[in-house]
Symmetry: C2
Subunit: 331 residues, 2 copies
Amino acid sequence: MTGADRPGEFELIARVFAPLAGEGAFGLVDDAAVLTPPPGEDLVLTKDAVVAGVHFFPDDPWDAVAQKALRVNLSDLAAKGARPLGYLLGLGLPDGWRTEDAEALGRGLALDQDAYGLRLLGGDTVRSPERLMLSVTVFGAVPAGRMARRGGATPRDVIVVTGTIGDAALGLKLRLDAGLSGRLGLADADRDHLLDRYLLPRPRSAVAGAVLAHAGGAMDVSDGLVGDLAKMAAASGVAIRLDASRVPLSDAARAAIAADPALLRTALGGGDDYEIAVALDEDDCDAFVDACRDAGVAATPIGRAEAGRGVTVVGTDGAVMDLGAGSYAHF
Amino acid sequence: MTGADRPGEFELIARVFAPLAGEGAFGLVDDAAVLTPPPGEDLVLTKDAVVAGVHFFPDDPWDAVAQKALRVNLSDLAAKGARPLGYLLGLGLPDGWRTEDAEALGRGLALDQDAYGLRLLGGDTVRSPERLMLSVTVFGAVPAGRMARRGGATPRDVIVVTGTIGDAALGLKLRLDAGLSGRLGLADADRDHLLDRYLLPRPRSAVAGAVLAHAGGAMDVSDGLVGDLAKMAAASGVAIRLDASRVPLSDAARAAIAADPALLRTALGGGDDYEIAVALDEDDCDAFVDACRDAGVAATPIGRAEAGRGVTVVGTDGAVMDLGAGSYAHF
């Protein structure tokens, strides 16, 4: 399968990855990298892998795959109030990979390094015969001891979420069922919006400072809003009451749900939102929403923490909805 | 394929991995971990992935696979003079994985956490349908600005290598060819020694302090001695002259090579040694060898750096050997 014109492992590293390497990476010609947080700051570490056929479609363009691999990690950093510093890339290349795909992957990484302000520190390239796989470790920094925690919600806190919920889960449904958009009567622009939100997460890095300044508890919403709020509730030792009618929806998601109201469950329980949910004191709520707006991101109060356990979802009719597990698990 | 008795993703994390989590991991119930190097120290980062059928055999026991995944990274840290702090585990579980395998994996990690003094900081567990895959990021610490560099060799330096070379490459040959041991007339103990060196690397963490104190240039030997020295030579802008007759061999490797002299090339060019090669001033050589011996590790001068480029291997007969590329590449 090795084309004569395809670079070998070390040539690939030299040609595609070394130009992306920054301070501490030693041009990718050493065994290890060096990274030291600025004085008075902690390093924040996060590691998420994406696998072809599991987290993205095998025919997705490799630049988008590279961006998704970085962005799912950047979303975790943003939710912790951390600013990005750098990353390590573990790359599993499938047999039969093409030079132009590897170059596209490098272009995707380069774009997002610029967009989010981080540098390549190192990594490892291996064979992964059947499937493209990217295992990314991202490093960020927060003032010492200040990382926003998932378990910081307290009773009476307001629950606020950034952006809109459900677009990516609806986009995945459209991707898996080519006729669905037509049956729902979606406009092309709405269909494309939902598909794009699945393909390319938009991590809310711009609001990391607002999270740090105001949030009591915070997490990224990636496995489904309801299930993720259940994790926040469990980590915090509180209950959360979610008002479904207040969950922010894009026009496209609203159109899809208007055509098929059952899709509200997809929006609330599906994954891949890469938004941020925070719990904060009512007195901090306006300041947080304002700070997010100043950063170009909408933020919407959607519920309350209270004494107790678990998540209760109150539907648009005022009745409690049963959404089942409501969180994505791999197995 | 999901057995009724098999834990789900979050239960697996809670049951097998959370008990391994240390300071900064928040019990694996947050989006990210926190790590801050001790005052005056840099973090050293390394990331190596291992894939079933590529880096280990699909029927290797999962405790050994977990240990291999940690140890190939610990070897990089040791070569940089760094002491281990912690790690992130990216785990790709194949369809049909069994509970007892996951538990064995946890036991292997626990053993090596104790043996090498590091803690689990976090990670990610995903489906990897065809193959078990572990992508590990390991963190260590060195005094600020002191990480031992691959590119630090200078002309007239002595090249010293720890332990013995070629055991794992010969072990891999034996593993792939069940009849080979018999044809070579190897004693069972010699055969088992070579097989074990392939299955389980022995990273030279004990000599990290000696590397830091004495080495001008240092790297781990993992892709084959000759090819790895070529990388050190290139990174340092020197040539390296390797005396094959001085390369340290185990009794088992010596027996194999005595039976088939062509296997010397396997020993010198094969991979998976996980020894450390250093370049140091002649005046530092005895102190380094002594410090290694005090740490329980043999260290042997095997050649010299000199002005020029590339690696020259002088054979036992005094003639220059041609070993080809002499370094493992994935493609």
